[in-house]
């Protein structure tokens, strides 16, 4: 076209110039149009009507009774009654034989293809009566069915592609943990926390386009891209699966890593779904939801075994079940005023709470799924807010209740005064689930369950005197304060995943860390990682990492590795450091008794082994360092020797420059040495003598 136009223009111009007549748009003589239509009008051609157009609204109905002309009208009535339900029938055609009998099949044309399709899905295989069953097909499918080959060919078996062992990282003989380091330029590194120096396992630039996450059991690494989510795994971190959803902003794994939830608040115009649940193993989309407003992530919360997932809406709790992905019992649970809920980490029980409404008290309810049975409910008064904390083993549930003495309504906002706080502790493993209550008058800054065991810690008090209280619920009813630490610098609590040890951290200003052994409440060590905002235990409770992210701070970003006793092992400072994440581990498969055995024989059997191993590693490491230094020194010495030789050769020239005074050494010039004596008063003492 372009070519043509140019030549035309030229022609036109020439003509206009020559005779001033109307432009001539004819092709010049001998012009050959060598541009195909496809090249020129590809986009327009895509919309060119096809031969089949118009036939999409036609259906073929087979299995119609064969009738003579006498009953034809009646048949027509019956048929049109059935088929006009799906849309306007434009025409129908009843083929007849020479005697005027219908042939048992008819053609019906709708005014649009949608009606035709609806009719096919609805009426196909529907019985008209005992003898006749409709077989309805789209006219456009006719070709498809006629060309089915006579002989069935078995599908070719697909080649077996070996998948990497996703659990390989658990086979590490020394049980070293892995961690990922995310740098500001989408640079992701995976390290093995080996002793005495970590080993770099993977290092990829631009591995992700927004963020990275480990799956909850550590099997997969998820990277989030503009077009969706990619899962990586195995020893070499190969791509395991892709999930397409443009502009993903949040992702969430189900606890057993069977399903992946992705959420994209502003998907493409064409793609309206906002939240999609994928099956991780097959990569298939299981269900999608349209979410209104700006919800709190995660919108859906999973039960511990991936069997159920639930979300709350206004006055409603919707529980869905897998693998059908339908609503449990096909209906949501009506709970007026529901505010928040949490699944138990060990049972299919969820705890939710309902806000106070005039004379109706607030309620905390434990609901068993799928029976929908309320196994425990607690009424509460004067409630401003509740927070639900499950203990990791699901043995206990703590609901922190913010209560008020007075409430006022000011400008539409409710203001509370005389705040005090209750901890309602539910003993899940006991009959009837008894509840204990602790009341604390001061404001609460943090709460944390010991992951295993029965202790929990609370940070409370005014900023001048922050207290850390430890409670124990050993026996059934008796819940007791076992230790109160006063005047601590602390804003967050981090329990070791194996219990017993806890880090009291101040993660707002200074970044102070205090390592405490809760067996005797001794401070093992305390330190400071200035401005540290994040603290994370490794999955085995051997190391703690504190970090300062470039997302929050400009200066001194990096992460520090601490031992569980609070000794800084390594300081990794980097300007581009953003995020540190330990690779999670699945729960141990060892039984309780086996664990006990191991703990018993730890001192006798294992300590010696481990210490020996550590020693060997350390000697090797220091040998490595020494070797490296020797090499550096050797190279440097070689360089220096050469330079010093040159320098010595230049001695005469140097002497010449400084009028033959040798100044090469500090005291080399002995001839021109002037000694000057300068006296100083070093000390003056006055002693009064009686």
């Amino acid at each position: 076209m372009a070519k043509k136009k140019d030549s035309e223009k030229q022609n036109a111009n020439e003509n206009a110039n020559k005779n001033g007549e109307e432009s001539n748009f004819n092709d010049p003589d001998g012009f050959v149009d060598d541009i195909t239509d496809e090249e020129l009008l590809d986009d327009v051609l895509a919309n060119k009507p096809k031969e089949t157009d118009g036939f999409e609204s036609v259906i073929i109905v087979d299995g119609v009774p064969e009738v003579g002309p006498d009953r034809f009208e009646k048949l027509k009535n019956v048929i049109s009654k059935i088929f006009t339900k799906f849309g306007t029938v434009v025409s129908s055609y009843y083929p007849k034989d020479e005697n005027g009998n219908t042939k048992g099949y008819i053609f019906i044309e709708y005014n649009n293809a949608v009606s035709a399709r609806d009719a096919v899905t609805a009426v196909n295989h529907v019985k008209l009566d005992k003898n006749y069953t409709f077989l309805v097909n789209l006219f456009t499918d006719y070709d498809k069915y006629t060309t089915i080959p006579e002989n069935w060919e078995p599908p070719v078996p697909q080649l077996y592609v070996e998948k990497p062992n996703l659990q390989e990282y658990l086979l590490e003989p020394d049980a070293y943990d892995q961690y990922l380091v995310f740098d500001s330029d989408w640079h992701v590194q995976i390290w093995l926390n080996s002793s005495p120096h970590p080993t770099l396992l993977e290092d990829r630039e631009r591995w992700t386009e927004s963020f990275v996450r480990w799956s909850p059991l550590g099997t997969y690494l998820a990277t989030v891209h503009k077009l969706g989510v990619v899962l990586w795994g195995g020893p070499k971190f190969v791509r395991i699966m892709r999930f397409v959803q443009p502009n993903v902003q949040f992702i969430d794994f189900s606890p057993c890593e069977q399903y992946l939830t992705t959420f994209s608040p502003e998907p493409d115009a064409a793609d309206k779904k906002k939240l999609v649940i994928f099956d991780i193993r097959t990569g298939m989309e299981k269900r999608s939801f349209i979410i209104d407003g700006a919800p709190v992530w995660p919108i859906f919360r999973w039960s511990k075994d991936d069997k159920y997932f639930a979300k709350i809406g206004p006055n409603i709790l919707s529980v869905y079940e897998t693998p059908s992905f339908g609503l449990l019992d096909k209906k949501s649970i009506q709970v007026s005023g529901i505010k928040d809920f949490m699944w138990s980490p060990s049972d299919n029980v969820l705890a939710y709470w309902v806000a106070e409404d005039k004379d109706v008290p607030a309620r905390v309810v434990l609901l068993e799924i799928p029976s929908r049975q309320e196994i425990r409910a607690n009424n509460l008064f004067n409630v401003a807010d509740c927070k639900i904390h499950w203990q990791k083993n699901g043995d206990y549930l703590c609901v922190k209740v913010d209560r008020y003495a007075k409430s006022k309504k000011e400008k539409g906002e409710v203001k509370y005064s005389g705040m005090h706080y209750n901890f309602e502790i539910f003993h899940m493993r006991e009959k009837n689930i008894p509840v204990d209550i602790i009341e604390i008058k001061e404001s609460i800054h943090a709460f944390a369950w010991e992951p295993v065991g029965s202790k929990f810690a609370v940070v409370h008090g005014e900023s001048s005197n922050i207290k850390v209280a430890f409670y124990d619920i050993k026996s059934a009813e008796k819940l007791s304060l076992i230790k109160l630490l006063e005047k601590k610098v602390c804003s967050h609590l981090f329990w070791s995943p194996t219990g017993q040890y806890i880090v009291l951290a101040e993660c707002r200003e200074v970044g102070a860390l205090e390592f405490i052994d809760t067996n005797d409440f001794s401070t093992m060590a305390s330190g400071e990682h200035y401005k540290a905002t994040n603290v994370e235990w490794d999955p085995t409770g051997r190391f703690v990492v504190s970090s300062v992210s470039a997302w929050n701070h400009k200066m001194d970003t990096g992460f520090w590795m601490w031992s569980f006793q609070g000794k800084v092992l390594k300081r990794n400072n980097s300007n581009t450091f953003c995020e540190f994440k330990w690779r999670p581990r699945p729960l141990t498969l060892l039984s309780e008794s086996k664990l006990k055995d191991i703990k018993k024989s730890l001192k006798k059997k294992y300590t010696v082994q481990f210490e020996q191993k550590d020693r060997i590693r350390l000697t090797k490491a220091s040998k490595d360092v020494v070797e490296k230094r020797q090499k550096q020194m050797k190279n440097f010495k070689e360089y220096r020797d050469k330079r010093i030789e040159d320098w010595k050769k230049q001695k005469q020239e140097r002497l010449q420059l400084r009028s033959y005074v040798d100044t090469d050494e500090l005291n080399s010039d002995s001839k021109n040495y002037d000694e000057e004596i300068v006296e100083f008063i070093i000390k003056e003492e006055t002693t009064v003598i009686d």
Binding site: S622, R629, M633, R643, D646, L657, R658
Partner: protein, 362 residues
């Protein structure tokens, strides 16, 4: 405050910390400046320490006890650079008052014997068109080089002058060599071996080697990403260490300007010095005063930091300043060092035994 710190009061200031064991690791605080230090330099023997600051008067001190010997009065702008020749007879200083001044050191001694007033006598001054940023005597001290700032449409200039017979007519001295610097200005200058070359560090991180006979550039390298703040040679003058705003210091070969070692920190480095005694490098710096957001000195990291010259490993820090260290120098015997900070103090620090006992395993 200024009155309290006035020069007269501190004329015979002897540091507070002096007592019978003052030569131990306790520092001697030299309080003679009212503003941020710009440069400190030992003379060749190391018995004297010269210091300049953004106030008007460079000082000279006994390095042994921190007693002030005298001042050089005359400048009327911040003094950016100082140097002393190898015989400790003449002293040179360049300032923001667009002047380069040459002083007689000997006069200072004479006057101290009279114990009337201890000031250096100015031999002469050279007026230039913009602030004098760097000035250095050559090895022979027959020549000196100075560089001027690029301002008001003036290019930065490097000039070599003959100072052999400098007298009253010094102000009329015309440079024997003049080198125009296009682009980034000179921030630091040293002489190459046998006075055959001059090495300049620039604001954009480049380091350039000039031929002093032709005035041409021999090499130019850009291994730093930020401004060069300081260049200092080792004791035999075959290597030099650069201090840069890019938070690192690098060891260079003085002939081919190849990078031999890099010492990385996380704060801008303002000054670096090579120990004449051991394979050690001292780095001084810290967060720039204008960028300090909190009052905490923890953020600033105003420590003098010691690295092994060859292994590039940091092994010690010396705290003390409550502002960034602007300039730092090893004593020529390597047994002490001094640092001058933005806080206006010079800290004269002698190493204690543990420093001499510390050995790297290799």
């Amino acid at each position: 405050m200024q009155n309290e710190r006035s020069l007269e009061k501190h004329l015979h200031y002897v540091a507070k910390n002096i007592d019978s064991n003052f030569i131990k690791m306790k520092p001697i605080l030299l309080l003679g400046h009212e503003r941020a230090l710009t440069q400190i330099k030992y003379n060749r023997e190391g018995d004297l320490l010269f210091s300049s600051a953004k106030d008007l008067r460079p000082n000279v001190w006994y390095s042994l006890n921190g007693e002030r010997l005298g001042t050089f009065n005359g400048h009327c702008g911040a003094v950016w650079c100082i140097d002393v020749d190898w015989e400790t007879t003449r002293f040179i200083s360049g300032a923001a008052d667009n002047s380069l001044r040459l002083w007689d050191c000997a006069t200072v001694f004479m006057l101290i014997e009279n114990s009337i007033i201890c000031v250096g006598v100015e031999i002469g001054q050279l007026s230039v068109k913009s602030a004098v940023r760097t000035c250095v005597f050559s090895y022979s001290a027959n020549m000196a080089v100075y560089s001027t700032d690029a301002t008001y449409g003036l290019d930065c200039e490097i000039c070599v002058i003959d100072v052999r017979n400098a007298d009253d007519s010094f102000s009329n001295t015309s440079p024997i060599l003049r080198m125009q610097v296009k682009g980034s200005k000179v921030t630091s200058t040293i002489w190459g071996p046998l006075d055959k070359t001059i090495i300049t560090g620039h604001d954009d991180g480049t380091i350039t080697q000039w031929d002093t006979t032709t005035g041409r550039i021999i090499h130019s390298v850009k291994d730093h990403k930020g401004a060069i703040n300081d260049l200092q040679k080792n004791s035999d003058g075959t290597m030099f260490v650069s201090a840069s705003k890019d938070c690192s210091a690098k060891l260079f070969d003085i002939e081919d300007l190849s990078v031999l070692k890099t010492y990385q920190t996380e704060r801008p480095v303002n000054s670096a010095s090579i120990s004449p005694l051991y394979d050690h490098v001292a780095l001084g710096g810290g967060q720039e005063a204008m960028e300090v957001t909190t009052t905490s000195t923890r953020v600033g990291k105003f420590d003098a930091r010691f690295f092994h010259l060859v292994f590039e490993e940091e092994f010690a820090r010396v705290k003390g300043h409550f502002g960034p260290i602007n300039t730092l120098a090893f004593h020529p015997d390597g047994k002490s060092f001094s640092s001058g900070g933005e806080d206006g103090f010079v800290r004269l620090q002698s190493f204690d035994q543990s420093y001499f006992d510390y050995k790297f395993d290799y």
